[in-house]
Each structure stands twice: as structure tokens, then as C-alpha cells.
Amino acid sequence: MKKALSLLLVCAMTFSLAACGSKESGTTTPAEDNSQTEADAQPEGDAQPEGETEAPAASDGAVFKIGGIGPTTGGAAVYGIAVQRGAQIAVDEINAAGGINGVQIEFNFQDDEHDPEKSVNAYNTLKDWGMQVLVGTVTSNPCIAVVEKTHEDNMFQLTPSGTAVKCVQYDNAFRMCFSDPNQGLESAKYIGENGLATKVAVIYDNSDPYSQGIYDAFRAEAANQNIEIVAETSFNSDNKTDFSTAVQSAKSAGAELLYMPFYYTEASLVLAECSKQSYKPVFFGVDGMDGILSVENFDVTLAEDLMYMAPFVANSDDEQVKSFVTKYQESFNEIPNQFAADAYDCVYVVKAAMEEAGVTADMDASAICDAMVGAMTAISYDGITGKQISWEANGEPNKAPLVVQIKNGETIGL
């Protein structure tokens, strides 16, 4: 019996290995199996029966190949999947409307599991596929590892949501979102200029570069804005469910405003804890707060009057936003978050820069990069995460920071 079972499983394994060499997974691209061709070149991998080395796919010159990298499995999958979906909608729209300068786009999104090493593997896979422009990566640390490689290869890179400063440290890389320090700076300025509070308590996630990066910049700017930080408490990824001490210390320090530079899942717990301790300061968050109203089993009245920096508001009256949100809901049955919106804009920015630079599909990645880097600083783009966005040569976007507030369970722009 066991013998039969093991034989069956071995057959299954052999079949699966053989299948991966030749069969197409049928996602969005017709020519992605190139990445497997030289697998058998590994001499020690003699257990793999897959065989024939294919000739490199002839580029027919009829498509632009845009690659994407982000986590679609693992703990950060929610961000990667949002980016994949947002970008896919933009690609489908552009292709339906006739493509870029009449040339269709192929989009190939690879999983990196939020791991720098896997991210570089994903990048190499895309390179084998023939990628000409990279939209990614989604998370900061993998982005820093990948930007090193794109810089070596001179590949144009536009990250939708890599917020760390070093994500765009090279000339070939740009970003769609605000950088971490930029957000910290802008929120301190906003609080100071609008006189929201002078005594501020901060809770932050010291295991998350995003949270830490924002807070560092916030603290540096706070001194200039006459803001006194009276309490600061940190938590980390292994310990983020109980916020009673953090809220207690903010309350006893008499803080008038609670600054929360982290994601909405933890924020919902903090808000619940504040309500439990009947502590009612002004709540101020960052763009990670986007999505708090859709947290399951969360009493949205707790988030009343919560303010946060948001590049994208899903229920905005803007025509572009409305159309995007409708399409996203039709396709995936959920409200898009800021990651999806950033990715959507990224693809359109790539389109705008390509049209400005006048690149053609038969150019190689390096030539496209050279042309697009020049074009990026020349374009001005109206999208769903901001209007009249322009880019500096250092890769940072110029867009107006938007602060929104939750009123009666709805987000409204301030």
C-alpha cells in the first residue's frame, strides 16, 4: 500500500517538474516560460527530468514588456496583491485604448515573498523574460536590494510603494509614493501649522522601517514646529496586540494628540484601547491608515474624527478615481487601497514617460531607461493619487500631501 502511494507521489513529482519546464501557467503573458530554460544546466540537480533548452524567445517587437515584483504570498501579501491588481487594471485599460504609441503592453508580476533574496530572483526571472521596464518593488527592503541590480543593468524602475529613502538612490529609479521622511515631515508641519496640538504622544513600530523612518523625520521636525513629544512607546511585529500600556502612558503624560505612524490593523486596536480607557486625544495617522474603515469587527465610530495623510481616497468625487474604484470592485469585489492606486498610477506614468521619450518596443532596456529618465523630470501627470505630479531627478515625486478626516464613517478631504 505504502509502496503504491510512494510510487504515485514520485510520479506526481516527476510530472510536476516536467510540466513546469514546458507548460504555461496562463497568467497574463504568453512568453514567460523562458525563465526555466537553463534550469537543467545545474549539474547537481540531476533529479530534475525537465529537459530541452529552448532558444531565447525572439522579441517580435510588438509589445512593451513591463515587469512587476511584490509579495503575493506570505505576511505582506495584501500589499503585493493590491499592486498586482491595480497595475493589471491600468494595463488592461491602456491595451483596450490602443496601447502606448499603438504598441500593446505585456505585464508580468512575480512574487518575492517580501524577501530581498527572493526579490532579486524575481527580478532575474523577469530579466530572462525580457522585461524592459520595472514597476516595483512593493516593499522597501526588497526594493533596496533590487535597485542595486536595476542600477547595474540600467533598467528603468518606478516603485509604487517603496518608501525608504534608499529605494530610489540611483538615477534610474523613481517612486510614486511619498518617502518615509517626507511623510513624517509633512505631518509634523501640518500639526504645527494648524495648531492641532503642542503635546504629542507617539506610538510606533520599531521593527518596521516604514514606521521608524516616518517617526525619525517627525521627531526631527517637531522641534521646529513647537511640538513637544511627551510620550513615545514602541511595539514590534512579535508584540502588536496589546496596546494598554502604550495608551496608558500617552494618557498619563497628558498628550493632546496621538501620532500613529503605522498600519491600520494595529491602529484599530489602539483606537479600541483608547476608547476602553476613555482617552480622547486628536488621532493623527499616516497613509498606512488607509483601509481602517474596512477592518472586520471594528466599530467605525471609534475612528470618528481620525485624521491621516492619504494620497488616495476611494470615495472621492474625482472622475478618474471613480472609474478606477468601480473597475476594481467589479473585478475583485473589494475597495482598492492606496497600494492598488499607486500601482495604477505607476503604469500610467510609465506610459506618459514612454510617450514623452518616444521609445519604441524594439529598443533594449538600457536605451529605454536612458530615454525615460530624461522624460520623467519633464512630465506632469494627473492621476488618482494626486494632480500635476512631477518628478525630481533624485526620484522623488512632487505632489501635494492630502490630509483626510473620518466623519460619520466616511473619509473626507480636508
Binding site: 505504502k2 510512494s6 501557467s25 523562458n34 512575480q110 530581498p116
Partner: protein, 361 residues
């Protein structure tokens, strides 16, 4: 009697030569293929990680297979090696511009620090046995990861500054540079790792482990594994030999960490790369390759690292396939049914049978 000894020796020597040969052959074939330009970027990018995992698997095999101690904290030593060497390289980037010398020193530093931690961890931990040892090493691995995550270390004209709280409280001068930035780790480590260095390090690892196993010390270590009381009764110093094996294993893991850190420009201690997930993955390499079987560890590490990448075209299902392959391999290599199956249809036997039938004719 004497003849038998020589025969036995020849057999191990032969087997060792085959192991070295596989590694060298793999290098030559890859090098030729790369020169010919037929190797995909994916595989080229995977070469250094493959070397890293091979070293890790071989070094853990020393603890698990030869010394018989189940250690689940191997990634912790890798983490120590990675951070100490990346810190060194980052500081010395301007002072030693020749990457070869700098990397050589970085490797020594990574190995030394990991060995130091091996001794520190080993002294209390090796008093335990079995499950208890596994649990404590698991905890030590996590502790190392978490401690690294709260270290902030910066450099300015006044020297080094360290903080366990945040980068701000180090009070750096404006032009000062933060080198280890807590959870964000070290960014901008020079990319000094390459395939050749990786292969050389594998060969050195093999040389150390194989020679240790076949030495007087190795026999003492294996005697302790097989019967602790008997070994003690013939005068083998248990703690000394156990600690020796554990420390060498840790130090080699540190070398793998150095290779890892200098392959990517970002280094952060996450549960993905230095947590227990990684420790268990290395253990999986060792178990699947055969506990105590060095060559098996090499092959298992290579196959299991390549597998998820080769299955990329299956998208999210690749994790599923990976698990199925693991289970199938386990059944095939270790279950009684699988062993009987292999016995019946083994290549050696089939050849032997054919010979027998020929002879009969």
C-alpha cells in the same frame, strides 16, 4: 586485517574525492556555460545563494549528523556572521579599497564572531539533550535575531555611538553615518560575494568537516553520539568534543552569513532570513539529504533552493508543489515501504542481476 583497513580507508577517501569532485565539476560546468552565455539571469543570480545554503547545510550536518545534537538555532549564527562582517565591510569600504582583501578579512571576522557566539551559546546549552537542546537553541536563534533588531550603531568624527533605543538618541553629528539602523539593518554593503569565492568556501567547509569526521576527534564525537556513557567510560571529554563540534558548525554558518550579507545590498534580520524558518529550512536540507551524509546535504540544499524558483511559472501553487516534493522525497527515502521499493528496484541490484544472469548463461 591490515588489508581490510586499507580497503576501508580507500573507500572513504574515494567517497570524499567524489564529493569534492562534484563541487569542482559543478563549478567548471557552470563557468563554461556562463562563458558560452547560455545561463539564464535567474540561475546566475542564484549561484551565490546556492553556495550559501550548501555551506549552511554541510555545517549543520556536523551538529545534527555527526555530533547527534538537534540544533534549531543555526540561522542565528548565520545572522551573527552576516552582521559582524557587513559592519566591518561598511566601515572599511574607504580604508581598504581592494575588495578581495576586505572580503577575506570580512570572512575571517564573520567566522570568528559566529564561533564566539557558538562557544557562548554552547557552554550552557550543550548540557541539555534531545528536545530540550532543540528548544533552547531555537530560543537562542530568536534572541540573536531580536537583539540585532534593536541595535543602532553610528559613526562620526568622534567615533562609534551605540543605542538600543533609536537612531536619534545616538546623538550623531550631522555628517555622521548610521551603520546599523535597528530593524532596517545595514544597507549599502559592498557586493563582494561571487560564485568563485562561494565555491572556494564550500571546498574549505568540506575540507574542514570531512577531515574532522575522519580524524581522532571525529571518532570521539561520533562515539559520544552513539553511546554517551560508553564514551565517557573510555575517557572521552564529553563537553570538550561536543563544544568543539558545535563551535566549528557555528563558525561555518557564520561564513555562510558573510556570503549572504555581501550578496545583497540590504541586510535586515527578519524572520524570513534569520528566524527559525531559516533554521528549519537548513534542517530540512540536512534531513532530506540524509543525516550524517555530507554529499547528500549538498545535493539536497541545491535541489531544494532551486525548486521554488524553477516552479515560478506555477505562481502561488509552487509552494504547494514544494511541499508535495518534500513529502514524496521523505516517503521515498525514509519510510519502510519506500526503502523496500528502492531495494527492489535499485540500480546497483539491477546491474548485479544482469551480471548474474549473464554469468549463469
Amino acid at each position: 586485517m591490515r588489508q581490510m583497513n586499507i580497503k576501508a580507508l580507500n573507500k572513504t577517501t574515494k567517497s570524499n574525492i567524489v564529493t569534492y569532485g562534484i563541487v569542482i565539476l559543478a563549478y567548471l560546468i557552470m563557468e563554461i556555460l556562463m562563458r558560452a552565455g547560455v545561463v539564464s539571469s535567474l540561475l546566475q543570480g542564484l549561484l551565490v545563494p546556492l553556495c550559501t545554503y550548501v555551506i549552511l547545510a554541510v555545517s549543520l550536518n556536523l551538529t545534527v549528523g555527526i555530533s547527534g545534537e538537534l540544533s534549531l538555532g543555526h540561522a542565528g549564527f548565520m545572522c551573527v556572521g552576516a552582521f559582524s562582517s557587513a559592519f566591518f565591510s561598511k566601515c572599511m569600504q574607504e580604508v581598504i579599497p581592494v575588495s578581495g582583501i576586505r572580503f577575506f578579512l570580512a570572512i575571517l571576522i564573520g567566522a570568528a564572531f559566529a564561533a564566539l557566539f557558538g562557544v557562548v551559546v554552547g557552554i550552557p546549552v550543550l548540557r541539555l539533550r534531545g528536545d530540550y537542546l532543540a528548544i533552547v537553541t531555537l530560543a537562542f536563534g530568536e534572541i540573536i535575531k531580536n537583539v540585532v533588531n534593536v541595535i543602532f550603531l553610528g559613526k562620526d568624527s568622534r567615533g562609534f555611538h551605540i543605542s538600543m533605543k533609536d537612531a536619534f538618541s545616538m546623538g550623531l553629528e550631522p555628517e555622521g553615518e548610521v551603520i546599523i539602523n535597528g530593524p532596517q539593518g545595514i544597507t549599502g554593503t559592498p557586493n563582494d560575494s561571487n560564485f568563485l569565492v562561494g565555491i572556494i568556501l564550500i571546498l574549505i567547509t568540506l575540507f574542514i568537516v570531512i577531515n574532522l569526521v575522519n580524524s581522532r576527534t571525529g571518532r570521539a564525537i561520533m562515539a559520544i553520539r552513539d553511546n554517551r556513557i560508553a564514551a565517557e567510560s573510555v575517557g572521552i571529554h564529553i563537553t570538550k568534543y561536543k563544544l568543539l563540534a558545535f563551535t566549528i558548525s557555528a563558525s561555518l554558518a557564520g561564513v555562510a552569513g558573510v556570503l549572504y550579507a555581501h550578496n545583497l545590498s540590504t541586510l535586515a534580520a527578519q524572520s524570513k532570513n534569520f528566524g527559525y524558518n531559516m533554521s528549519i529550512m537548513i534542517l530540512v536540507f540536512v534531513v532530506l539529504g540524509g543525516i550524517g551524509n555530507i554529499r547528500g546535504s549538498i545535493i539536497a540544499a541545491v535541489v531544494l533552493t532551486l525548486l521554488p524558483e524553477l516552479l515560478r511559472s506555477l505562481n502561488d501553487y509552487r509552494m504547494l508543489m514544494y511541499a508535495i516534493v518534500l513529502i514524496a522525497t521523505m516517503i521515498f527515502t525514509s519510510s519502510p515501504g519506500g526503502q523496500a521499493f528502492r531495494e527492489r528496484y535499485s540500480l546497483k541490484r539491477l546491474i548485479g542481476q544482469r551480471k548474474e544472469t549473464k554469468e549463469a548463461e
